[in-house]
Amino acid sequence: MFQMGGGVAPEDQLDKTQTRRVMARVIRMASPFRRTAFAALGCVVVTTSATLAAPVLVRHGIDSGIRARDLFELNLSVGFYLAITALAYIFGRMQYVFLNRTGESFLRELRLKVFASMQRQSLAYYDRNKAGVLVARMTADIETMGELIQWGLLQFLASGFLVVLAFAVLFSLSWQLTLVVLIVFPVIVVASVKFQRDSNSAYLTVRERVGQNLGTLQEGIAAVRVIQAYAQEDNQIERFEKSNRSLFASHVRSIRISTWYFGLVEFSGVIATSLVVGIGGWLVHEGVVSLGTVVAFILLLSSLFDPVQQLSQLYNGVQSAAAALHKLFAILDATPEVDEAPDALALPSRGNLKVDDVMFTYQGGSTPALDHVSLEVRDGERIALVGPTGAGKSTLAKLMARLYDPVMGVVSYGGVDLRRGTHKSLRQRIVVVPQEGFLFNGTIRDNVRLARIDATDAEVEAALDRLGVLAHFERLPEGLDTEVRERGTRLSAGERQLVALGRAALVDPAVLVLDEATSNLDPGTEAEVEAALERLMQGRTTIVVAHRLTTVQRADRIVVVNNAKITEVGTHGELMALGGHYSALARAWEKSHAG
């Protein structure tokens, strides 16, 4: 009934020691649920034994009851048969309940742990790992295991158990006939192993192409506006058709593989019957076995062949689950680069933010992004970071907020090294607001509130009002409760940015770090917003990565970052007089403004 979809790429295949380690760890992680796990295992043993007892009882009924014309024995067999059926039913039900309870609790635990570990990682981790891969770990990989638990694990256990038991029963009934069955059995086993391999590779191709096809489909839908704007529908349709047809071809290949296999299995089953009838009949004539035994064999054959088939399919599933677990454990084991020290203390509530001879290189970067940089920002001071593209402004800002740790040197707040502060106090003191607005699913209100989750509706509104944009959003038909839709498509480009800015107006930290985006706002709105931000900055330390002259001019001090170093520090006037990099930059900006 159920075909387990599973498969594992060669490079993901685990070796013996890895498998053993994964298993051991799963058992350790599942130990809180061991009660239900053992209960489930017990149920599996009972129901499987009951399945096997049935043909034995039939044999008894035929040989000792019917052929011996002993009605008592016959009725006894029937009574027992009924009893074990009832037993199998009860334990069958419990088996599902226990197994799923164990499995789902385990998966829930796994989800929470993996996500928590992902969240503890620093930004560097997210630089290294593509978003798509991380999402797949939390979804597809864990779901594979869920499927396995719901269907596969149960059958895997039962099937394995069934094959072993069935042989034991057969052997105890008649070793001669067991040998007869063993003529066919290897054919099935060999075919199953080959099928398992071939179907694994076919399955991987199918999975890959399904992914590809979904990707093309998704792109075609997401980009529909661009496609239509350039009248490229027909080309896109053709492109999709190509990927769709290649998916079909991979399906057909996997169908071919299963076709011969299932044909062979069905054929072998009947051949085994024919052998048991032929040779068994001869043995009956010789008086070696009873007719009842032959009948029991015929009936037992199916409980022998089905599990082998299932085992071969499940093997893939179990393997891919092990591979998935291995990857998930790797996430759990990743040590966060930016972590809380064991003896962390709360940062002082106010103080100077000091960067002392800091070196920083991004992973994979050949040259340092910051090279022996020192800077002291006084409590309440407003600093603007300026410099050419790629100079290291954002990097410096991120280090000042401990989104990364320096490779060398120290960043401290109020005299305490940021690495010795608790995470909680760090985010209470220093907040970074990236201004390119990433909007989350939900309403405008939810998105602003993200900056301070305990903010009331009134506070959210007040924050937007301070920016002077509340009226604008309230004019929308659903006001602040407008759903922003996927990534904010319901809003205009500038409106999206205003929502992100609303976050900056809602937070209330001692140190505010703003990485100014090049703007989608009209200068009028922008000036208004800037004026509001200006008020926001009063009384707190502010570090702004600036791209606009107006922002720069408001700063107490301007810090020029050039080529990973701080080259100039001073007020607008001072730096203009210096006639260095800043004065050139300021002139370029002015020119762009003037046209």
């Binding site: 035929i62 009851g65 019917i66 014309r69 067999s77 029937v78 048969y81 059926t85 199998a88 069958g92 039900r93 309940v97 799923n100 789902e104 989800r111 929470l112 996500f115 969240q119 997210y126 978003a131 999402v135 979804t139 719901q150 979904l214 990707g215 489909l217 792109e219 075609g220 839908i221 769709n244 399906h251 169908i255 299932f262 054929f267 009947v270 019957t273 024919s274 009838v277 032929g278 009949g281 001869w282 032959v294 199916s302 593209t389 989104l403 607001v433 990433f438 205003l498 090049t518 009209d522 009028g524 000036a527 208004e528 200006e534 107006t550 001019q553 930059l585 370029a588 020119k591 403004h593």
Partner: protein, 637 residues
């Protein structure tokens, strides 16, 4: 509110107004109508599938024929086994011959099974494949308004999971028909062998069918619920990962974690619910046949003892009963699968039957040819009224006309409708009132493709495809040669950084490729528009993310591109606005001022507000005084 006694006409009195409740007959007929409608929908869905299957009828009929032959062979095996036991073993008959007969039947069933499976699976996949292509093609042609309202995920599931339901149904067609045949054949054989025993043995079996059907229809919503919760969890993870810079910067990890915990709990809850349903049905379905087998052993055993039945018959009964288990389950499942497929087909049909609201007219007029002495590319908005479907009117009586070859800057506050104008010009939406013309022809009278090929837009949101830089730039003209692509890239100021990419023009970009900065992406998009070589070029805030000092270089190149074509620029930077011959200021959905930059600075207060023309002059004033109260400071720059 007082309710009337039973028997009277139900009347409710609400604050003095008498409200007669809905006439029950009318309510019933309304309900009947809804049902009628649902049935009609289902019929349309089935017709869709029927027509698809008709095209594959040869292979399908062949598959069914093989399936029924397979049934015959399969049913023969227990008959042969029985004969072998009775005549061969019990009566010392020719054992070898019987064994060979059984083996022969085995060979036949093996081959036939293979054939049936192959045909069934291949044909069902083919149906799915073709339907998916139809859906994709249709989606590509549906108007943008439809896409605004429909989430990507929804359309994705039409073309994936819904079609999977259809495939699962189609694949079952041949086996179900042979199952039905098998059911009849076996029942007939059993009844002919011993009708009394047959009745007793078969009695529990219909329950299998009923139980399977119930199970399938109960488990389906449960499975959907699980999938739904999984999707919700996925979207929490997705946004936490994509928005990690916001999450980390604000320190809101706990918010995301709480969201995730809720989803993880939900998944666990619905999964356990599904497991509960399985536990209620599956063991029962597994064990019901045992009741028949017990009956055969007990009642049949007695009849053998009495000499009414042979042992061979008894064994055959056993084997036949087990043979009925799968067909009964399958038929039960098939009913549920059919219901599911029907629902999926209705949804698919809904998409396929949605007519694109924006379509080319039957006899489109064609645009005047380019490269004649007469310059082309005149755009005119005449009293345009437009809203996105809600009561909010975005454009309200907007009129503007742009001469061929002219360049115009559109300026306005955030949310004033600038991008909307672009979307209307592309005919993503049709205007509610008024009209828009290109070279004097109403857009609605033009072939949509021709219109769009003549308008090149750089959108404010840059969408790049998962493809090489080169293919992204050559998007509008896939067969453009490298020289053309390079020329466009140079003009857009993109050539330099492209050459520094790891594989130059062949570097894959887009979501899954090399990540470019916002400014770089915009420059690729500009190059894409240049390759299209449109008669009207539209730049919607196309250089907002480009560094101001870099923008300067692009601006010079843009002058070359703009030569000889109409250009509409939406921009906020005075430098960019200055590219245009004329400036159109929009506010509250209409044009409030038209003129040159300097002219507007002098005459339009709103223009000065939008461009914050005072900001450079007097910062402190801008910081302290609310907008309305500001006295604009005007001066030459």
């Amino acid at each position: 509110m007082t309710s009337a006694p039973i028997g009277d006409k139900p009347i409710a009195v609400l604050g003095g107004t008498t409200v007669v409740e809905l006439d029950p007959d009318a309510a019933a007929s309304a309900k009947g109508e809804a049902e009628e409608q649902a049935r009609a929908q289902r019929n349309l869905g089935w017709q869709l599938l029927w027509r698809a299957l008709l095209d594959q009828r040869r292979a399908l009929v062949f598959g069914v024929a093989i399936g029924i032959t397979w049934t015959a062979a399969k049913v023969a095996v227990p008959q042969l086994t029985k004969a072998a036991i009775d005549r061969g073993i019990e009566r010392n008959g020719p054992l070898l011959a019987w064994s060979l007969f059984i083996a022969g039947a085995g060979l036949a069933t093996g081959l036939l099974t293979a054939g049936r499976r192959y045909l069934a699976f291949r044909e069902s996949r083919w149906t799915e494949t073709l339907l998916r292509e139809r859906i994709f093609a249709h989606i590509q042609r549906l108007h943008v308004g439809y896409h605004d309202r429909t989430q990507t995920g929804q359309l994705m599931s039409r073309a994936s999971s819904d079609l999977q339901q259809v495939q699962q149904f189609v694949v079952m067609i041949p086996i179900t028909l042979s199952n039905v045949a098998q059911l009849f054949a076996v029942t007939l054989i059993l009844v002919l062998t011993d009708w009394r025993l047959a009745i007793v043995a078969l009695a529990p079996l219909p329950f299998i069918n009923v139980a399977s059907r119930r199970f399938s229809s109960r488990i389906h919503p449960a499975v959907l619920a699980v999938q739904n919760e999984q999707a919700q969890l996925a979207s929490v993870v997705e946004e936490s990962v994509s928005g990690v810079r916001v999450v980390k910067g604000l320190g809101t990890e706990s918010v995301q974690f709480d969201k995730l915990r809720k989803e993880a709990d939900d998944i666990r809850a619905v999964s356990l619910k599904a497991a509960g349903i399985r536990s209620r049905f599956l063991p029962a379905i597994d064990l019901l046949p045992s009741l028949g087998l017990i009956a055969v052993l007990g009642y049949g055993g007695h009849r053998v003892v009495n000499g009414d039945l042979s042992i061979g018959d008894l064994v055959a009964f056993n084997v036949y009963l087990t043979m009925l288990v799968w067909p009964l389950r399958n038929i039960g499942m098939m009913v549920a699968l059919g219901q599911r497929a029907a629902a999926a087909l209705v949804r698919v049909h809904e998409v396929l039957s949605t007519e694109p609201a924006v379509r080319s007219p039957k006899q489109p007029r064609s645009l005047p040819a380019r490269h004649t002495s007469q310059p082309v590319g005149a755009v005119s908005f005449e009293n345009v009224v437009f809203g996105y479907g809600d009561e909010h009117r975005v454009l309200n009586d907007l009129s503007v006309s742009i001469a061929p070859g002219e360049s115009v800057a559109v300026v306005g506050a955030t949310g004033s409708g600038k991008s909307t104008i672009v979307r209307l010009l592309l005919r993503f939406y049709d205007v509610d009132q008024g009209r828009i013309t290109l070279d004097g022809i109403d857009l609605r009278k033009l072939d949509v493709h021709e219109l769009r090929r003549n308008i090149g837009v750089v959108f404010e949101e840059t969408f790049l495809f998962n493809d090489s830089v080169r293919n992204n730039i050559a998007f509008a003209k896939p067969d453009a040669d490298l020289a053309t692509v390079e020329r466009a890239a140079r003009l857009a100021g993109a050539h330099e950084f492209i050459m520094r990419l790891p594989e130059g023009y062949d570097t894959p970009i887009g979501e899954r490729g090399f990540s470019l900065s916002g400014g770089q992406r915009q420059r690729v998009a500009i190059a894409r528009a240049i390759v299209a070589d449109p008669r009207v070029l539209v730049l919607d805030d196309a250089t907002s993310a480009v560094d101001p000092s870099k923008e300067h270089e692009i601006r010079d190149a843009m002058r070359t591109v703009m030569e000889g074509r109409t250009t509409i620029v939406i921009a906020h930077r005075p430098g960019t606005i200055a590219l245009a011959d004329r400036i159109v200021l929009i506010d509250e959905g209409r044009v409030v001022a038209v003129g040159q930059h300097r002219e507007l600075l002098d005459t339009s207060e709103r223009y000065r507000e939008v461009l914050a023309a005072w900001a450079v002059r007097d910062d402190t004033a801008a910081a302290e005084v609310p907008i309305a109260a500001r006295t604009p400071v005007v001066g030459g720059e």
